[in-house]
């Protein structure tokens, strides 16, 4: 038997979980690029180091982003990945596909690229992994013909994403899919032509369970919520009571605000104390439903650590109704991006800018009122700035 060229990677074909190595080998059957990628990766496994050069700027005509340039640092050994650029394809909102669309994508990619993909990237794009500089424009042309467009990269609005929401989920308080798609279409220019100080991400979850991790991963988080009473279906409560579920222990005792009462018969919720954490609803989906007045909480500033440390998004609008055409929302986004663009340094994310200039300055800048919902607690340091108009001006 021939000795394998990838003994290390072969080890990763063992075990029950589907193996990316198998996929790479599969692609390598057809694509010399994929073949060289496999070999270069094997080298990385041996050397314990990556074999890509720094950066790469390539693209398509009329766009400033959407393609990640990449060059091998061993083109001598792996000439077919000398250039190996990634194309970010804006996924259909909610990652829903009809197979014909997916097949089109595959065909285009087999024609122009390595035949390898990520379904999907962490921001949500369909990632087409690896093509040459020459193929980028023709590949884009074919993609466009197949109804696909590039996603974001660089200092641009990144591909927005949304949880499945009303597509399947009974808890959706907003139409996450429509909001996301609508914003995506509205802001095409901002996605394709980087014009900001740095990246800007929008993610939409239709309820506080936040199934797209929007609060952790987006500069602008839209999270569905409600006002008013949690809807209770007493018959179903009774049904749960006689099931495995221990309502007192598993539901009431774990309610963070302890605003639920259960006397083995009736479930009472002191809704004025409920902070809509979803826990009780999550556990009793047949019996409990979010209240009737639905909308979203807007939070901003979420991001990964570089430079100033990771941030979770901060509440800036406790409640906003979201109905098409989402005018108020869009205006808010524009105002925020504008303020950010005007004030930020290069590579400064929105959250970092607010951290630097202060929430007070941000709120005034974008015209939002201060409300206690914005904070866990008021300041504890006495370093309070007053606005000039608060102070009696000396006449000197």
């Amino acid at each position: 038997m021939e000795k394998s060229k990838t003994p290390l990677l072969d080890e990763l074909e063992k075990g029950k979980w589907p193996s990316f190595v198998t996929d790479m080998k599969q692609a390598a059957q057809k694509s010399p690029m994929a073949e060289d990628l496999l070999s270069q990766l094997e080298l990385s496994y041996k050397d314990k180091i990556g074999h890509w050069k720094h950066g790469g700027i390539v693209g398509v005509k009329g766009y400033g982003g959407g393609v990640i340039g990449r060059y091998s640092d061993r083109p001598d050994l792996f000439p077919n990945v000398q250039a190996f650029h990634t194309m970010r394809i804006n996924h259909p909102t909610g990652w829903f596909y009809k197979t014909d669309a997916l097949r089109n994508l595959c065909d285009v990619w087999d024609k122009h690229g390595s035949g390898l993909t990520n379904m999907h990237g962490s921001t949500g794009d369909a990632i087409l992994l690896g093509t040459t500089t020459e193929h980028i424009q023709p590949c884009f042309d074919d993609l466009s013909a197949a109804g696909f467009d590039l996603g974001g990269s660089g200092s641009a609005l990144r591909t927005p994403s949304a949880c499945v929401g009303p597509g399947r989920c009974e808890w959706a308080c907003i139409d996450s899919l429509d909001v996301c798609y609508n914003l995506t279409m509205e802001f095409q220019d901002k996605i394709h032509r980087p014009m900001f100080p740095y990246k800007f991400k929008i993610k939409v979850s239709a309820c506080p369970n936040d199934c797209v991790a929007s609060i952790a991963r987006s500069d602008f988080s839209i999270i569905g919520t409600w006002k008013g009473k949690i809807l209770i279906n007493p018959a179903e409560v009774t049904a749960y009571a006689s099931s495995d579920l221990d309502i007192q222990k598993e539901v009431c005792d774990l309610c963070p605000t302890k605003c639920m009462e259960w006397d083995s018969k009736e479930l009472k919720i002191h809704d004025e104390d409920c902070t809509r954490c979803m826990h009780c609803i999550n556990l009793m989906p047949k019996a409990l439903r979010p209240g009737k007045e639905k909308g979203a909480t807007i939070l901003v500033g979420g991001k990964a650590p570089i430079v100033e440390g990771a941030l979770l998004s901060w509440v800036i609008v406790p409640f906003i109704k979201l109905e098409p055409p989402y005018t108020e929302l869009k205006e808010l986004i524009e105002r925020i991006q504008d303020w950010w663009d005007e004030n930020a340094k290069s590579r400064e994310r929105l959250g970092e800018l607010i951290k630097r200039l202060g929430m007070r300055v941000f709120l005034r800048g974008v015209g939002l009122p201060a409300v206690p919902q914005m904070v866990k607690a008021p300041r504890s340091n006495p370093y309070v700035f007053f606005w000039p108009e608060d102070i009696k001006q000396e006449v000197k």
């Binding site: 950066g55 700027i57 693209g59 660089g154 032509r193 980087p194 014009m195 290069s346």
Partner: protein
């Protein structure tokens, strides 16, 4: 390192065609590279204005200006910018202007 011959001169560039010896930049370099950045024909005054602006800014501050600033300072909008440099300010304009390759945010 790749080399490229433009208008009879040899330049060290990287894979993306970015100049690797910034002091070698000259106007011919810019012109000769124009077509790879989807600019047809010779560079116009509008192109030069931007190229010179970029170079001045870079010389003065050591960094490329942010896009908003480019537009503001030159009284143009994004549309115009992409008309002039169809591959965008980072890939297109900076390359022609002989700035160091924009990094990081991709």
């Amino acid at each position: 390192m790749p080399q490229i011959e433009l208008a009879g001169k040899i330049y060290e560039v990287d894979e993306d065609g970015f100049l690797q010896e910034l002091d070698k930049w000259n106007e011919e370099f810019a012109q000769a590279y124009a077509h790879t950045e989807d600019i047809e024909g010779t560079l116009t005054d509008e192109h030069w204005k931007l190229i010179n602006y970029l170079r001045n800014y870079f010389q003065q501050f050591g960094i490329a200006p942010m896009v908003r600033k480019v537009c503001k300072d030159n009284g143009i909008d994004m549309k115009k910018l992409y008309e002039l440099f169809p591959t965008g300010p980072a890939k297109g304009a900076c390359k022609l202007a002989g700035l160091s390759k924009p990094t990081g945010c991709v």
